[in-house]
Symmetry: C2
Amino acid sequence: MKILLIGASGTIGKAVEQALSQDHNVISANYSGGDVQVDLGSPESIKAMFATVGTVDAVISTTGLAKFGAFKELTDADYELALQNKLMGQINLIRFGQASVNTGGSIILTSGILSRKPMAGSAVISMANGALESYVNAAALELESLRVNVVAPIFVKETMAMMGMDTQDGLSAADTAKAYVSAVTGEMNGKTLDVIEFV
Amino acid sequence: MKILLIGASGTIGKAVEQALSQDHNVISANYSGGDVQVDLGSPESIKAMFATVGTVDAVISTTGLAKFGAFKELTDADYELALQNKLMGQINLIRFGQASVNTGGSIILTSGILSRKPMAGSAVISMANGALESYVNAAALELESLRVNVVAPIFVKETMAMMGMDTQDGLSAADTAKAYVSAVTGEMNGKTLDVIEFV
């Protein structure tokens, strides 16, 4: 399969690329570097990416910006970043990418467990994640030629270690990547995939 | 209690006003008419409403615009309406209204069952509803002086009848209003209230 991976330079993205690249042709897309560049917050940039890459069998996003921060300090700009980048940026991969996906292919987005298990500081991230999960569930009812799913990671051990956190409750990037591989190769449609169920 | 009801002229809003007005002082807010006018899509309008109304014991929203329409016909403007009106308009009632709510009071928003039980045509509504439910769950962790909840109605019988639909699977506006009354008078916080559980 020819797979376009957006966010390939991130912690999860690298692990997904490693897991898929033995059997598949992975095209990496990043904000800078990679095979093709894309600004997820820009609809025009997303359209240009698909024009450059051409048809693919799958699109995977492991990226999307939203700020973790105290509720009372969140600004209008913090809300807009979550809505226009993490949420609409990924939704636009479906809207503007569906015609570039071969029949029977799929598009896989990334939300996160904070939609259903929030923590102090996660308000706009929870908002974007909850929106993505409900949206994909609904959109799948009307997308006829491809599957759409969203992977909901928990904290990644490598990220926790980098932040000086106890990694016990996290999942390694390599284990997290297994949900994306299952989403690409499986038959599920419109689902939120909890990473822990694919380890 | 002094209760600010936004969307008081709507089908659900009228029933909520009727249910609450015997025991409480309900201030009605509508796009036009009512005790005070507000454009939910305008942050400045929301701030002006709270400045006009002053402190209250509860804020209830039974409104928010988002388009029901075929996935392939949804435009950028349809996404923006759902995000800026139904989603951010209601979120801004918390952000800009929390200081106007007396300690121990609450803010109640409206999502809808389409977040979890989507149907063809509901993509942007499902998106907004899912976002609202996850957001309220997260925000409640950091809001110390008030409760925030979201009511998730199913189809309202009166609306179904007006649209020529079979009303069997709907719930009357009066029964739907019971969830809002419970949210105002109860102790729940950060919850999504399924209307069927309050009949």
